[in-house]
């Protein structure tokens, strides 16, 4: 899967979980840029991404991400 396709899928997950059609992620997006990206939403996003891409992150993976780029890097390597 290409990075751009992954970004698109991740974007769809954000729209669904945050219930906000207007979300447009870029690789530079951070949690601070997205309204409503709080701790419980974070869990729902991770769960949805793990399900969608049929992979599992470690808690260490998640803590290391600074932006969407690092999340996608991690998805690519799994």
């Amino acid at each position: 899967m290409q990075r751009l396709d992954i970004l698109k899928e991740v974007n769809d997950i954000f729209i669904d979980v945050l219930d906000d059609e207007s979300i447009v992620l870029s690789e530079q997006t951070t949690a601070a840029d997205v309204d409503g990206w709080d701790s419980l939403t974070h869990i729902q996003l991770i769960v949805a991404i793990e399900k969608k891409f049929k992979l599992r992150f470690t808690s260490k993976d998640i803590q290391s991400w600074k932006d969407v780029k690092e999340m996608i890097d991690c998805i690519v390597t799994k």
């Binding site: 470690t58 808690s59 998640i62």
Partner: protein, 133 residues
Amino acid sequence: MLHFYKEDNYNLEFCVTHEVHSQFMNIFKDCNPLHSNIAFAREKGFKSEVMHGNILNGFVSYFIGECLPIKNVIIHSQEIVYKNAVYLDDLLSFDAVVTETFDSVNAVEFKFNFKNAESKVVAKGKIQIGILT
């Protein structure tokens, strides 16, 4: 994940007694005629008053709060689809199974269903819980 493994399953029994039904109406004030008026329920094609679907969600609360190997849990989300009517005094068999575990965020997903005495599925759904550390 510690305490929860994929395909772990749980079985419980619940009965929608008169007490449960009347107390549910007493707390939540949902006395819709479908739940409280036998003539209305029959006119709509049911054999008698239909029990509130959210009584089953109360049973799900008991399952999560009291029947898991650990108590430090919280419900993140849940969904339920009602498939067949539940009537007063129905004895329901509840089955739940761990479908996925998410170690990175300490979450566990279950699927469940409730069956009546005729083994008909009356409701089915999913619950996601978190483990509080």
